[in-house]
Subunit: 338 residues, 2 copies
């Protein structure tokens, strides 16, 4: 099969590789219908994370079940499935509490930018769609595997509710998905922090009511101005830098909540500042498995269309260009078709 | 009148001072019936906070209204009242959201270890009891001014609910109050971290089901052992050091919550550790004003008896000994009677 291999920072190649096999009775092998490049894939691509040897890459996928292990009972060959970027058993106490990415048996999915991918713990990880989806739904369903579920978790962690005011820090695919989530969860006012015109347009299309182009202290001042001097009920932090976390914290009102899903790169939170902010904080890798059934319904019903975050679609064989376009910020997110 | 003045670290004196006057139409002057020494008063007593010049001290009080300003309408002379350690207007959007200690017009009360104390924003700060309380209720009512309200906030911030498992880090007056709060809010299992036998006894009397004497990694391991390897739903952090925060964070289960009310002394929270913990965090100076009506009822009904945290009662004139006993850890908390 064809598979994307990261050889070294900046060096992505699509090569022939052996097809994955069932290695445990709880595995499934999925024939990938669509996969994509994640902002987090760029860490190794950019050399932020070390690349010791050539490695398969990719953790977002939708596809058709090709084969299942003998213990798998909830999905069967031929079904169209979506799964989380972290495999989970979905039955341990942590999964039952809704935190599948901290499952006791969690395994990070890898190698999804390929024609086939092996998914461990298939029963606890994959969710079949009610029917074979129309081609037009594929991009939106693909986002549920990571970015849309992550935006959803950010909104939940930030306690977005009916009538609330939400600020979204970050206008990448996750931030834009966060706008959709805030809208669906009933936020009345959604302030998107963005200085890129095409992303602003998408944010507005997804339900943002205000765009703030300023950053840092000026961005905070603008949010305060828009919220009667109080700050926002909910802040979705979708970047992960020291600056964005700090900006997010200062944008929330006392008693408000900040959900942070941008992977924290060396961030430190000052205990005293957090104390006096009265802001609640929750982050982490999104337990997207928890949201899949609901989000699949919303996509099938046509209520959400997160697939619009893909602004570049390439054949899998051109994955290298997909990485390059995202690295150079020519694309928000690249969809790859095997 | 007699008033406690902190002259320098370690040098507390009770002296004659002018009685406070109404300085704003929203003020009240309260004749103090009981006051006490707070763990936070020890910061300046120990020289952790600078003492530039002799200063009045004390922020916990119950008493009888002596005089009110012309704008005060909810309390009147002769009423027995309890107030928060932070004065608030109780009507601004932040107060209405339940975070009175972040009120837009917040003022920290000071000088309460005296025969009389001026309370700003009396309408938004003081709550009158339904009747003049029996002498036996005075200590418990006094705790509502700070420590019991703070323990309550810790439990609320940690989202303690029916059937949950709560860990209380810290066995001072706030931690012990946190045990009461966890019990009242329905926690089924309450693990008190304490290595002091008299405090362990009080924790058990207040509703703790387990005592853990180990600290740090060993303490965390013990909590994990007691919670089926998962960690606690709720952790009340009532100390405020780097070690106690870290211990608290590691004691909570993924998806659990940590309420932190120990004033953070130079603590730093690692963003990545918090991210992967999946733990929700909220802290701050407790909005005790929000809880006063409910907690007054619970004291009058005899459901809670937080006054037992006072293990030393002295005449106001012996305040210096009250500080010394707490500083030397001979007393958990000192009540002073003017």
């Amino acid at each position: 099969m064809r598979a994307t291999i990261l050889h070294a920072p900046g060096d992505v190649r699509v090569e022939n590789a052996p097809e994955p096999k069932i290695t445990a009775p709880t595995d499934a092998v999925v024939r990938t219908v669509a996969t994509c490049v994640c902002g987090s894939d760029l860490w190794s691509y950019r050399g932020v994370l070390p690349v010791a040897e050539p490695q398969p890459i990719g953790h977002e996928y939708v596809g058709v079940v090709e084969e299942v292990g003998s213990d798998v009972s909830t999905v069967r060959p031929g079904q169209f499935v979506i799964g989380s970027f972290v495999a989970s058993d979905n039955v341990c106490p942590i999964c039952r509490a809704g935190y599948q990415t901290s499952c006791r048996h969690a395994q990070w999915v890898n190698g999804a930018q390929a024609e086939y991918v092996r998914i461990p713990l298939a029963d606890g990880t994959l969710v079949a769609t009610p029917e074979q989806p129309d081609e037009a739904l594929i991009p939106s369903l693909l986002t549920l595997s990571d970015v849309m579920g992550t935006g959803w978790y950010a909104a939940r962690a930030a306690d977005v509710g009916p009538g609330s005011t939400a600020v979204v820090v970050g206008d990448g695919a996750v931030g834009l998905s966060g706008v959709i989530a805030a809208k669906e969860l009933g936020a009345e006012r959604i302030i998107a922090m963005s200085r890129h015109e095409p992303r602003q347009r998408l944010a507005l299309a997804f339900g943002a009511t205000d765009i703030v182009t300023e950053r840092g202290a000026e961005g905070v001042a603008r949010v305060k101005e828009l919220t009667g001097g109080v700050g926002a009920d909910s802040v979705l932090e979708c970047v992960g830098t020291q600056e964005s976390m700090h900006q997010g914290l200062l944008s929330a009102r006392p008693g408000g909540n900040l959900g942070f899903v941008g992977f924290p790169h060396g961030t430190r939170i000052d205990g005293q500042e957090l104390f006096f902010s009265h802001v609640g904080l929750r982050g982490g890798p999104a337990p997207v498995r928890a949201y899949l059934p609901d989000l699949i319904d919303r996509v099938f019903d046509g209520r959400i269309d997160p697939g619009r975050v893909f602004d570049l679609t390439l054949p899998l064989d051109e994955a290298a260009e997909g990485y390059k376009a995202m690295d150079e910020r020519r694309a928000v997110k690249t969809l790859l078709r095997p």
